[in-house]
């Protein structure tokens, strides 16, 4: 979905209408395109996947598609066999023969009872261009192709043209060389823009003015070497993991509370830290996947591998009174199935929860076979100890102490009895209420804890018993409290999984076993009863046509504001076709061949000229490719919510670069926490925790921090694979008036007073100001100048 264009069009319309590429190809075939010279038609061949399927899928499949329950007249048009089968003496499509093709007659018909799509479908009639595509397709034999995304990526090396050396650039320039476009790529961005862009993209932090100067200097000598060195430095920075960790946490629907109406806080930040660390270590993406989906099932699973399974514990928990708990457990499994499908497969498998998928070949039963993998878990809380804690040693000591204390107490039972017998009403007055109650418990019924408390009271403050008892209490606290995190644990006996009619858990139907959709590669299970681990391995199998593409596309999207497949969460039939299919396949295969290294993928993209080129608008691009789909220039992108905060913190000199740890509570406006059913406490963090990166701010799903959500940070209700980039008055109010941002401005004011306006300007936007810009700021006084700088569009944008 082209989210940015949603805000801009005066009438709500199908977002697919904005997709230049699809339109351009169809139209250019016909010579009807906006940039097609008249009469240049009839050259290109009609291709099913590129030209025909989008029309059939949009206009026909809802009633004549894969889902038999909603199929009208028994006709399916999603397969060659279906489309050419005989129905009542006629065939919808007769390859090569338009006049005998019933579908064609219906398309042309003006009779409301006959015409397709029928009025009741509320579809716009087929355009002249769409009809022309169908006509040519039927006449040329109505050939079907398997949907591109279900065919494994075919690696085509880009043509060597004597042009650019970087494979990405060769693919992009081939697209730009299209006779309809003939757009040259833009020149390389200037070094200041480049270091700011790369730093923000790779670490989410600004370069300091000194770093900018050094880079400009180095670039003057050898621009490529300087840039290469910069990229390596940024990729090695621990802040890389924070920046890209947030990218992954969006997809993991991470937040720090249980959601629904009660929205109690939860502890799962160890999972967040695991993600950051895994990315910093460049854990191969296949392992990264397996540990999150099934780390607990790996042989000899480590604590870290168990923490990783927190991925699917980021579902909401309903603690409202009167609920049916099973209903909400099932809802969380629904969410896990949908999230797994969206994040790794780029498929809207959730659509098959209630019925067979209307557009993609996923049956409802197959949905519940996926569900079965994710339906066998216990949902425990795991204690997590700091690496410095010798858990096994201390546990041994703890157990030994327990034995020692028990032995001591049985040996000295008579001492205690004597002490008890000697108690008088006067001496009893000095004992606590709890002890007095314990004294009333018959000796044989007293617990270990009760006995210890009586012995401790009878013995007083010194002696071997007291020492052992104190140490025991200390270890009890250390081992049984502290940090916890939510994890998955397989049940010894799997739950029974059935299809639910219409997705309603009160209407169970046929029982199903775990399995994967038939349209994809076969599952290779280690045993009769496939597990989550088999599912995870199936997902990252090199035979999977989807995952490599989906992830490469989603990384690409971060750098250009749009994926090569624009519908980054739907690679199915209703998704958009890739703008650069060969590039996508090349990136996907490169990603897998380079050992699923995300850092390698980043390196490949950011080293390209396509990434490094200027983002300036160009008249010719605006005219021929208004949405810049073909990338004749870079995109100017408003920073993500957390980065808006981080940049302001960095510019004002307040930023704490501390990594990891429990979430923090920076100041938020009054009254925010009182909006939900339960008013939550927000005690503002002290010291450097007040100035941590946005990644570490505590997120209550029900009342998230306004300064983040106003810039479109997700609340963690469901997976977010692409953030909206809105542009609103509430953002202006935040940057102008929010107490947090005002505090940053105060700090920047001090910098202006000490180092001057130009220094402050450069801390915000990296470049040097024009004299006219300085003049505007000079008139304001240092505080308002600081506020102005933090409010600039350029400050919250990477160019």
């Amino acid at each position: 979905m082209n989210l940015s264009s949603l805000t801009l069009h005066s009438v709500p319309e199908h977002p697919g209408a904005f997709l230049l590429r699809r339109g351009a190809l169809v139209l250019s075939v016909l010579g009807l395109g906006s940039f097609s010279p008249a009469g240049a038609a009839t050259v290109a061949e009609v291709q099913f996947n590129r030209d025909v399927r989008p029309i059939l899928s949009d206009q026909c499949y809802a009633c004549h598609g894969f889902d038999p329950k909603h199929r009208e007249a028994g006709l399916r048009l999603d397969t060659f066999e279906g489309a050419t089968a005989e129905h009542d003496g006629s065939r919808a499509i007769v390859p090569g023969d338009l006049s005998k093709s019933e579908a064609w007659k219906r398309i042309l018909s003006t009779d409301p009872d006959e015409v397709m799509p029928p009025p009741k479908a509320h579809k716009p009639p087929l355009t002249a261009a769409q009809r022309e595509v169908l006509r040519r397709w039927i006449e040329s034999g109505a050939r079907y192709e398997k949907h591109w995304a279900f065919v494994p990526p075919a690696r085509v090396e880009p043509a060597v043209t004597g042009g650019p050396a970087h494979p990405v650039d060769r693919f992009i320039e081939a697209g730009l060389a299209d006779p309809q476009l003939k757009l040259p790529p833009s020149p390389k961005a200037d070094p200041v823009t480049l270091i700011r862009r790369a730093s923000l993209d790779l670490t989410g932090l600004l370069p300091s003015p000194a770093e900018v100067d050094a880079f400009v200097l180095a670039s003057a000598k050898d621009p490529d070497a300087a840039y290469k060195e910069l990229v390596e430095k940024l990729l090695a920075s621990p802040h890389y993991g924070e920046r890209w960790g947030r990218w992954w946490l969006d997809q993991a629907r991470y937040a720090d509370s249980n959601g629904y109406s009660i929205d109690a806080p939860r502890q799962i930040w160890k999972f967040r830290d695991w993600v950051v660390q895994a990315l910093n270590q460049d854990m191969p993406f296949d392992r990264f996947t397996i540990e999150q989906l099934a780390g607990d099932l790996l042989p000899g699973a480590t604590d870290d591998q168990k923490i990783a399974t927190g991925f699917h514990r980021n579902t909401q928990i309903n603690q409202e009174g009167g609920i049916d708990r099973e209903q909400f457990r099932i809802d969380s499994v629904f969410d896990r199935v949908a999230t797994t499908g969206t994040v790794w497969l780029g498929l809207s498998v959730g659509c098959a929860q209630c019925h067979d998928h209307k557009f993609d070949p996923i049956e409802q039963k197959e949905y519940y076979r996926l569900f079965a993998f994710l339906n066998n878990q216990d949902e425990p809380t795991m204690k997590v100890f700091d690496a410095s804690v010798d858990v096994s040693g201390l546990t041994g000591e703890f157990n030994a102490l327990e034995k020692k204390l028990k032995d001591y107490m049985s040996e000295h039972a008579s001492d205690l009895a004597a002490w008890e017998a000697g108690l008088t009403p006067a001496t009893k007055k000095s004992l606590s209420g709890a002890l007095l109650k314990t004294l009333e418990v018959p000796k044989e019924k007293r617990t270990f804890v009760q006995n210890r408390s009586l012995f401790a009271a009878s013995i007083g403050g010194v002696g071997p018993f007291r020492e052992a008892n104190d140490r025991y209490n200390e270890l009890d606290t250390l081992l049984n409290q502290g940090v916890t995190t939510l994890v998955l644990k397989e049940l010894p006996k799997p739950r029974k999984t059935t299809v639910f009619i219409k997705g309603d858990f009160t209407r169970p139907a046929d029982e199903v076993t775990p399995g994967t959709p038939r349209v994809l590669h076969p599952l290779e299970a280690a045993s009769e009863q496939p597990t989550r681990l088999d599912l995870a391995r199936w997902i990252v199998s090199p035979k999977n046509p989807l995952t490599g593409r989906v992830i490469a596309n989603r990384v690409w999207q971060q750098y250009f504001g749009r994926g090569i497949v624009e519908t980054e969460n739907d690679f199915g039939m209703q998704g958009t076709s890739p703008s650069h299919p060969e590039l996508l396949d090349w990136l996907a295969t490169e990603f897998v061949q380079k050992g699923w290294s995300l850092k390698e993928l980043h390196r490949t993209i950011v080293m390209s000229h396509t990434y490094r080129q200027s983002s300036r608008e160009r008249e010719d691009v605006r005219e021929k490719d208004p949405n810049n789909v073909m990338l004749a220039r870079q995109q100017r992108l408003r920073l993500d919510a957390e980065v808006v905060r981080d940049v302001a913190l960095g510019a004002s000199g307040l930023l704490s670069t501390k990594l990891g740890g429990p979430p923090v509570y920076p100041p938020i406006p009054d009254g925010v926490m009182g909006q939900g059913q339960v008013k939550r406490v927000w005690s503002v963090s002290k010291g450097e925790d007040r100035y941590r990166r946005g990644l570490y701010t505590f997120i209550y799903r029900g009342s998230p921090p306004p300064s983040l959500t106003v810039f479109d940070a997700p609340e963690g209700f469901s997976t977010c694979t692409r953030r909206i980039r809105s542009n609103t008055p509430l953002q202006a109010l935040t940057l102008m008036n929010d107490a947090g941002f005002f505090e940053f401005a105060r700090s920047l004011e001090t910098i202006i007073q000490k180092e001057g306006l130009e220094a402050a300007f450069r801390r915000c936007v990296s470049r040097k100001p024009h004299p006219e810009e300085l003049a505007v700021l000079q008139r304001l006084g240092p505080l308002n100048a600081a506020r102005t700088l933090l409010n600039l569009d350029e400050t919250v944008t990477r160019e």
């Binding site: 109406s261 009182g674 059913q677 306004p706 542009n727 509430l730 304001l780 600039l792």
Partner: protein, 480 residues
């Protein structure tokens, strides 16, 4: 304000940076940006938009009684329920049904109402003694007694009434409507939320969230305490003049960047700063009701003009409609009368009714006398109703009930003085004309000139609609 105006203001006004701007303007025209400024992209995303067909109404005020008011003690007159008070409900009614607090409540006995009912107005609508003022306006109201929803827990049911889905994260009705229609107000958000009662509604901000729609369309709570809008006030250390200078300076520098880069998003941001600045004065002005006549304050029953009450929120709703705000939602909480020390039918339902009765009637009357009722739809209702069976707690109450409950509508082309839908002798289920939540949504959109089947947005492979995937109907019988 569009950028043309802004530019002109910079060019010709008192603005101290005028000279620089003249140079800028010529630069802009050299680069062909003058024409670009008139493209739709330059517009405020909330700019009024074309409807699918001519609209009957322009604005909506939704009076949301959070918790689920008891239709059987307010609007549904069921003598049979009273005469069988204390008897078990026949199994035929409850077989196969699911309820909240399943284990404790579904076997309880029928509970008659303790309140007297009377017929009112030309329409002869039944209203209980708890709502004397509402009784006086029944001929302006359209009652639907056969409303039904799908979910019986508070938060999911509230989401359902607001977003058409029980799942968190879908766009709310107010967001859909401002997305579809834009807003006619230039200095306030298009979708505003007002709250009264001891706590926030269950579900919180997701009830007015924009889900997959841009956040531009999300509801903005006008808060009772502190700034009416988060971060509305200029920081204390900053004077009004300095704030204006800030907006001007940001605008000036952003304009330069727009010329430099050609990025139209910067123009949208310049507009956003202008609107934000206007909101800083228009929102406090809106909230200050001291200028209203004593007669008006008495009509609503407002004693203290600064106290946050449902009555004050009703008056604010009228003021918002006057300013062109598209969708106004009032939440009044604590309508969850299960029985028990704090939420029972004997004591607390009458108190809640008194909190809202006079103001609801006043709002309808006030809109009518100002000629605003024709173009404004007023909706009254909760997320569900309550069971004909009583709940056995320390005092009397009723459980959540989703099969039949009452809502009323006024103005905006609804047929006044109408009672639609019929329920069985106990008010358990509809026997005529059931109206599902999605039908209510479809009908409201219809009156606003929007076709619920066309108002959609694509996300995660689905075309999301307020009315979901199952067919929904526009209830023509309740429309004038």
């Amino acid at each position: 304000m569009n950028l043309q105006h802004l530019t002109r203001r910079h060019l010709f006004s008192r603005c101290s940076v005028g000279l620089g701007s003249i140079a800028l303007a010529s630069l802009m025209s050299e680069r062909g940006l003058g024409a670009a400024l008139q493209k739709p992209k330059m517009q405020n995303p909330l700019e009024p938009k074309q409807t699918h067909f001519p609209a009957k109404a322009k604005n909506v005020i939704f009076l949301f009684m959070a918790g689920g008011p008891s239709q059987l003690d307010l609007f549904e007159h069921k003598p049979q329920l009273n005469s069988l008070n204390g008897q078990p409900i026949p199994d035929s009614y409850t077989a196969g049904k699911r309820f909240a607090f399943m284990d404790s409540s579904h076997r309880s006995n029928l509970l008659g109402t303790k309140f007297a009912f009377g017929q009112h107005g030309q329409s002869g609508a039944w209203v209980s003694e708890l709502l004397p003022h509402t009784s006086g306006i029944v001929d302006d109201l359209t009652f639907v007694t056969s409303c039904k929803t799908d979910l019986f827990n508070h938060a999911p049911a509230k989401l359902y009434m607001n977003t058409g889905s029980g799942l968190f994260g879908r766009p709310s009705m107010g967001s859909w409507i401002t997305y579809g229609l834009g807003s006619e107000c230039e200095n306030l958000p298009g979708f505003v939320v007002l709250q009264s009662g001891p706590r926030g509604p269950r579900g919180g901000a997701v009830l007015w969230g924009s889900g997959v729609l841009p956040t531009t369309f999300q509801g903005v709570p006008l808060r009772a305490q502190g700034d009416p809008i988060v971060n509305l006030s200029t920081p204390e250390a900053i004077s009004a003049t300095q704030q204006r200078q800030l907006v001007d300076a940001v605008g000036e520098l952003n304009l330069r960047r727009l010329v430099e880069t050609g990025d139209q998003e910067i123009a949208t941001r310049i507009n956003a700063y202008e609107m934000a600045y206007k909101m800083q004065t228009s929102a406090p002005e809106l909230m200050d009701i001291q200028g209203e006549s004593q007669k008006t304050l008495d009509l609503y029953g407002i004693k203290d003009t600064r106290e946050t009450t449902f009555a004050r929120n009703c008056l604010l709703a009228r003021r918002l409609v006057e300013r062109g705000v598209r969708f106004i939602q009032l939440y009044d909480t604590n309508w969850d009368h299960h029985g028990g020390p704090t939420e029972n039918l004997e004591k607390h339902l009458p108190m809640k009714s008194q909190d809202i009765d006079k103001a609801c009637a006043a709002l309808v009357r006030d809109l009518k006398q100002r000629g605003l009722l024709d173009s404004t739809i007023v909706v009254w209702g909760g997320e569900f109703g309550r069971t004909p069976m009583g709940e056995v707690r320390e005092s009397t109450g009723r459980n959540h009930h989703i099969d039949a409950f009452t809502m009323w509508f006024a103005g905006g082309g609804f047929k006044p003085g109408t009672i639609y839908g019929k329920t069985d002798e106990f008010g358990f289920g509809p026997v005529e004309n059931p109206v599902h939540v999605h039908d209510i949504h479809a009908t409201l959109l219809h009156q606003l000139g929007l076709d619920h089947r066309k108002l959609s947005v694509r996300s995660q492979g689905l075309d999301f609609r307020l009315t979901g995937v199952d067919p929904a109907r526009v209830v023509k019988d309740i429309l004038a």
